[in-house]
Amino acid sequence: MNAPTAEDLRPREGEELVFDTNPVLNERVTHYCPGCHHGIAHRLVSEVLNELGVAPRTILVAAVGCATFTYDYFNVDSVEAPHGRACAVATGVRRARPEAVVFTYQGDGDMAAIGTGESIHAANRGERITAVFVNNTVYGMTGGQMAPTTLLGQKTTTTVQGRNMGNEGGPIRFCELLAQLDGVAYAARCALDTVKHVREAKRALRKAFEVQIDGLGFGFVEFLSGCPTNWHMDPIAANKRIAEVMIPAFPLGVFKDRSKGGEAKDA
């Protein structure tokens, strides 16, 4: 079966258009698995860039993992970073092009394991960039190995008995870790499991871009996301896992807000 073309996706006669594309996200069919939340995260980023009117001067720094191919879907100029180095590459882009809007889009392994150093120091320098952090507690692209955010007891292909505090340590709460840094202007954790949470996520994402545009510092938003494939669940069960298992371990909220009109909060 051929992938549907953009034309196939337009409403046919008698059909009502209730949800349209936006020009920042192209109409390619993504490579993501059914039930994966990258699609929602992409949609939110594209809506925010579109509403802020900044897409023509936006530069995406793509990471490594399932998120590598983000540049196939966003209609913005892009550069690929080595695994974990997106915040360093974004620093170079930011310093080279002060007028640009710069964002990274990174998974948990990329940002909070191999790229911890680059991420923390870019945040600490207060680089005017926005980091979109997709936390699904597992390495997706490589087939389900332990991530830095894997929950205690969670079974992965490299923790077949479940993640063990004594051997692997516990999950990293990256949002709290970054929020304490003076260079961070906005840090929030949201979830993509329900309509309510998705709406909150969009508001947080918008702020994470606004603090960059307003020159206030580093903007960070963490999305608790589902990976039905590597969790070995159907999408509905995956959403349930976010609500019942992930959110208790990764509390939702705004951990830092120095945006205009925002209330400064401690981590």
């Binding site: 180095r85 170079g92 080279a96 120091h121």
Partner: protein, 362 residues
């Protein structure tokens, strides 16, 4: 640093920094390491004074990836480090090569392996000229021999980086880095203006699609997963490396009637120049061939000189450039080798004996 604006007394490191800003460098990213610290120290003042940006990175890994980002934007940018720091940069250098991203990387190398020593060494020849990182890639490599060349070669480095959209390494050592000598601060022939550099990168740089009339997004990347895509990409790279071959450069001294041609680069060539002039005065038929580019290697110079002569390669390592000399000569002449161990300060007198031994064919 002292002197007139046009002529200054500067260490090689300081000359590199002057060369960088005079050649149009806008961004510097780097992490401190001896023996190149005068480069970031000078640029931390020189760049902001000229509207440029200086970032002290959290590591060499951070620095090279910042360079990747700035280079992708088509903004003339550089980093500098020394041996062990350059090892950490190899990942980013490979990505820059794979993504056709320009950038200038200064390596004022030190002794290794491991933490080694901070003194002079040419032990990074392989790392610099054979790609260094993973995958099939090459860096253009320039080897200055004086503080003046440190200055001049920065212009050449930026011009080549933008002409080929490729990383360029300037490879010196602790002697080149720390010796202070007069430097003329005037652009050498072939220097490109900022406008010329901009014109070279305008077809591919990322800037935000709104900056272009057609408005179609651009992407710089090194990943090619579709069947045959990487093969096609690497063929493109190989074609570029073939084109680079015309950039090979070298200088010779007293080779016309020489029976023995001594081959050396960087600080060793500087010392050997004195040795050879002294031996010439005593009537020995010896000459010098100094590659100024280590990649591309000046193969043709060796082929031209091989008939009726023999070669002696002198380098401050355990035998690296000698392999390229033997490949270039391809059996057409005898090639001897003399190595100086890292962090030993050889004098012109010390090197007379190995030259005379090679001349006699011992």
């Amino acid at each position: 640093m002292s002197g007139t604006p046009e002529r200054v007394l500067a260490k090689g490191n300081e000359a590199l920094a002057f060369g960088a800003v005079d050649a149009g460098c806008v961004c510097y990213f780097g992490y401190p390491i001896t023996p190149q610290n005068e480069v970031p120290e000078a640029l931390s003042t020189l760049l902001p004074e000229r509207g440029g940006r200086f970032v002290q990175a959290e590591s060499e890994v951070g620095a090279i990836n910042m360079l990747l980002g700035a280079g992708a934007c088509g903004i003339p940018s550089m980093t500098s480090s020394s041996s062990c720091g350059i090892s950490l940069m190899q990942e980013g250098i490979s990505y820059m090569a794979g993504s056709h991203v320009p950038g200038v990387i200064v390596n004022m190398s030190r002794g290794g392996p491991g933490l080694g020593d901070i003194g002079p060494s040419q032990g990074d020849y392989f790392q610099a000229t054979k790609g260094g990182g993973h995958g099939d890639h090459r860096n253009l490599v320039l080897a200055p021999s004086t503080a003046q060349e440190c200055y001049d070669f920065m212009f050449k480095a930026f011009a080549l980086a933008f002409k080929y959209a490729n990383p360029v390494m300037v490879l010196g050592d602790a002697v080149i880095a720390q010796v202070k000598e007069p430097v003329r601060r005037t652009p050498p022939p072939g220097a490109l203006s900022r406008e010329e550099l901009d014109a070279l990168c305008s077809p591919w740089r990322i800037e935000g699609y709104g900056a272009r009339p057609n408005g179609s997004p651009r992407l710089l990347k090194s990943v090619y997963l579709a069947e045959g895509a990487l093969a096609a990409r690497n063929e493109l790279l190989m074609k570029k490396y073939q084109e680079m071959r015309k950039e090979a450069s070298f200088e010779t001294e007293a080779v016309e009637d020489a029976e023995l041609v001594v081959v050396a680069f960087g600080s060793m060539a500087r010392i050997l120049r004195s040795t050879l002039r002294h031996l010439r005065a005593e009537g020995h038929k010896v000459g010098l061939l100094r590659p100024k580019t280590l990649y591309p290697f000046p193969d043709e110079a060796f082929r031209d000189l091989a008939p009726g002569r023999r070669f002696l390669v002198v380098e401050q390592n355990a035998g690296q450039m000698v392999e390229d000399v033997r490949l270039a000569v391809n059996g057409a002449a005898k090639v001897d080798w003399h190595g100086v161990m890292p962090c030993i300060f050889a004098t012109a007198g010390d090197l007379a004996r190995p030259v005379l031994l090679a001349l006699k064919g011992a």
